[in-house]
């Protein structure tokens, strides 16, 4: 697997506040990575560091094995970025804005851009300050996708989109992934979207990536377990349970990450009975984040 993005020991501080602390992170070619984290966790900071808009205090970021200074112009222009807040240009019309942006990217696909504008029902002659928040976000996405990027960095790209537009955006993104094998990293609070389109999920907490798993492996592993007949709490230490709650001889806990341990056999060997139910990603995130809130 070719690593497209390699982040090593990244530190970023704002005044006295540590946002990112010794962060290590790798994204392989073709991955669609969903980044989760509470508000103020540093997701936008991480993405802006990836885009060289913010300079880390220490550590390194490599794209295609190169630092930003050594990337070629062509490689830089194959990166699409959608920031959290829309870009502005209130005095321009939609068509003017896209025409203006196209001059910065050699591989801008005008035909594809026009198709997206028509598909997502943007009025080319409308001024940007007359667009709604969602439409401005769509425009930013059109601008990012029109370059047919190899790497797409999206900071909450669907926050203001209605459900229909969100589905259309996801559909378009998936087509791009098929066609271009585009690598995508996106931050979002809409976990259901992440479950659909991501193949990897990462949680940013306390300045570090505390979980970074293949989504299918994660969903196969995570769940809520209820153990009955527990007499000795120490027996449970070998089990990969988190956030446990005990009541008489019943202990309920969550499996929050893939493990090589065959815990069902361990439970049987301990002479306990168990009930297992699968949980979705949102419940998983809430359990992981419990201690952070």
């Amino acid at each position: 697997m070719t690593a497209i993005v390699e982040v090593t020991n990244l530190d970023k501080r704002y005044a006295k506040h540590d946002v990112l602390t010794t962060l290590n992170f790798t994204i392989n070619r073709g991955d669609v990575v969903g980044l989760l984290g509470k508000n103020g966790a540093g997701k936008s900071t991480l993405l802006e560091c990836l885009m060289n808009l913010k300079e880390p205090n220490s550590g390194s970021i490599k794209l295609w094995g190169k630092t930003w200074q050594t990337l070629t112009q062509a490689e830089r222009e194959r990166i699409g970025f959608v920031a959290q807040s829309s870009a502005g240009y209130n005095w321009m019309k939609v068509s003017q804005y896209l025409d203006y942006m196209s001059h910065f990217f050699e591989h801008w696909d005008h035909t594809y851009c026009d198709q997206l504008v028509e598909k997502w029902q943007l009025d080319e002659n409308q001024y940007i300050d007359q667009l709604s928040g969602g439409q401005k976000q769509i425009l930013d996405v059109v601008q990012a996708l029109s370059i047919k990027p190899e790497l797409l960095v999206l900071d909450e790209p669907v926050a203001h989109l209605d459900p229909n537009m969100r589905r259309q955006f996801l559909s378009e993104l998936m087509e791009l992934c098929c066609e271009q094998n585009t690598t995508v990293i996106f931050s979002t609070h809409i976990v259901s979207d992440l479950e659909r389109i991501a193949n990897k999920v990462a949680i940013l907490m306390s300045g570090k990536i505390i979980h970074h798993h293949d989504l299918d492996d994660l969903k196969n592993a995570i769940g809520k377990v209820s153990l009955s007949g527990v007499t000795n709490a120490q027996d449970l230490e070998m089990l990969p349970l988190s956030n446990t709650i005990s009541q008489q001889d019943t202990v309920t806990g969550f499996i929050l990450e893939p493990s090589t341990l065959d815990w069902q056999n361990v439970v049987k060997d301990l002479g306990l009975s168990y009930r297992y139910s699968a949980i979705n990603l949102e419940d998983w995130y809430l359990e992981v984040a419990k201690h952070a809130y």
């Binding site: 830089r76 920031a83 209130n90 910065f104």
Partner: protein, 424 residues
């Protein structure tokens, strides 16, 4: 406490332009104290009061920007205590402006205290004019003080002008303090215009849209990302030329006029930086296409340097025409050397303006402001006192070398800054 916070917020929003208005007021006051005879006729008193009113009106218009921002909060329409505390803050600021700019001179010259009434009323109208229910009425109220100044100067019309000013100011205060007393139609308009009220760059955007019709994007340049078209095409310079014309007309024959107008020269360059600071976030989608952060910073500097230069060229041509039209003995050499010096000064400190924070009073901002004012005062003093003795060529080359040296230092400094400091 709320009144204090409102005052601080409004003054902070005006921070960068306020020093220039203070300088303007100092120059006006100096001219008045030196130029007025001991025996004052009514006409002279009126002219003196007019000159004293100008900085107060400029201040009021400047404070109106911060007031407008605070007024766009939904509490302005829904919470009477918020509304009243904000209005108290506005009136206090106008009163303070009058006290600072007018009272010392009135006391020293011996003008009657009644002369304080005019600047106070004009200031109130200028500041509260932003509470108007429509854009047209806003322009009317904001322009009214200047027209009143014209009427106020003449012995035949000054009384009527003062009566009109009293009525206008009373009306604005009443409608601002007691919104329930105004008609339902106006209240509905206020609610419907909320979107316009919320967007304090509405006027700029409309002008930009008009000019944007004629914009064509043939290459990838930063110009369209950094400033509105009207500043790019030098229209900003035309606004200042119009203002200069009004000033020349009001202070006809005064030898101090060129000094005052020269202060506008920097005002043609400086707003470029103010606008770029508002629009820097527009660079984020394309910042990564530049070879390096230093390349982007250099491109920003070149773009804004050229824009400022274009503005000043347009203004200089118009200004020279005004000087020739209104001043009996134009002083072209003084004008030319002052323009040369001011342009060099701006371009030498220009890199520092990229990281100046236009919204907060910080130590670095204050130092930059002090440096600009001190440099301007030095140039004007040097030229006005020693011009006949100065060797023009020596002055030209010396000022050029000084500016190049300072620019070299400031450019090296800015290129070492992280991109986030420049773009934020």
């Amino acid at each position: 406490m709320h009144i204090k916070y409102h005052c601080v917020y409004i003054v902070q929003r005006s921070f960068f332009v306020l020093p220039f208005i203070i300088l303007l007021a100092l120059v006006f006051n100096w001219v008045l104290m030196r130029g007025l005879p001991e025996e004052l006729t009514t006409e002279l008193m009126l002219k003196a009061t007019t000159v004293l009113s100008l900085p107060v009106i400029f201040c009021a218009l400047l404070f109106g920007k911060g007031f407008h921002l605070l007024k766009s909060h939904f509490l302005w329409l829904q919470n009477i205590r918020f509304r009243h505390s904000l209005l108290h803050a506005c009136l206090i600021l106008v009163a303070l402006s009058v006290a600072i700019f007018c009272m010392p001179v009135i006391y020293l010259i011996g003008l009657p205290w009644f002369c304080l009434l005019a600047p106070l009323l004009f200031g109130i109208i200028g500041l509260l004019g932003v509470t108007a229910q429509s854009v047209v009425m806003s322009f009317f109220w904001l322009g009214l003080p200047f027209f009143m100044l014209i009427g106020f100067q003449h012995p035949a019309t000054w009384q009527a002008t003062i009566m009109l000013a009293i009525c206008s100011a009373s009306y604005l205060i009443f409608t601002a303090y007691f919104p329930n007393k105004i008609s339902t139609k106006t209240k509905n308009k206020a609610t419907n215009n909320r979107r316009r009220q919320l967007d304090n760059t509405w006027c700029n955007t409309q002008v930009a849209k008009f000019i944007g019709h004629f914009c064509h994007f043939k290459t990838a340049t930063l110009t369209h990302a950094m400033v509105y078209p009207q500043t790019k095409y030098g229209f900003l310079a035309i606004y200042f030329a119009i203002l200069s014309g009004i000033l020349f007309w009001l202070t006809q024959g005064s030898p101090a006029a060129p000094y005052l107008i020269l202060l506008f020269i920097f005002s043609c360059q400086f707003p470029i930086n103010h606008e770029t600071s508002l629009h820097k976030s527009q660079l984020r989608p394309i910042a990564h296409t530049f070879v390096s952060s230093q390349a982007l910073i250099r491109a920003l500097l070149v773009t804004t340097d050229l824009l400022a230069l274009r503005n000043i060229m347009i203004f200089s041509v118009l200004f020279y025409g005004l000087v020739n039209a209104f001043i009996e003995h134009p002083i072209p050499l003084f004008y030319a050397l002052a323009i040369w010096s001011f342009v060099l000064m701006y371009h030498s400190i220009h890199p520092l303006l990229l990281i100046a924070n236009f919204k907060k009073i910080t130590l670095s901002n204050s130092l930059i402001a002090v440096a600009i004012i001190a440099w301007q005062v030095l140039i004007l003093t040097l030229l006005s006192l020693y011009l006949p003795a100065i060797n023009v060529y020596v002055y030209l080359f010396a000022s050029l070398f000084l500016a190049l040296g300072v620019r070299f230092i400031t450019q090296r400094f800015i290129e070492k800054q992280p991109l986030e400091r420049v773009l934020t």
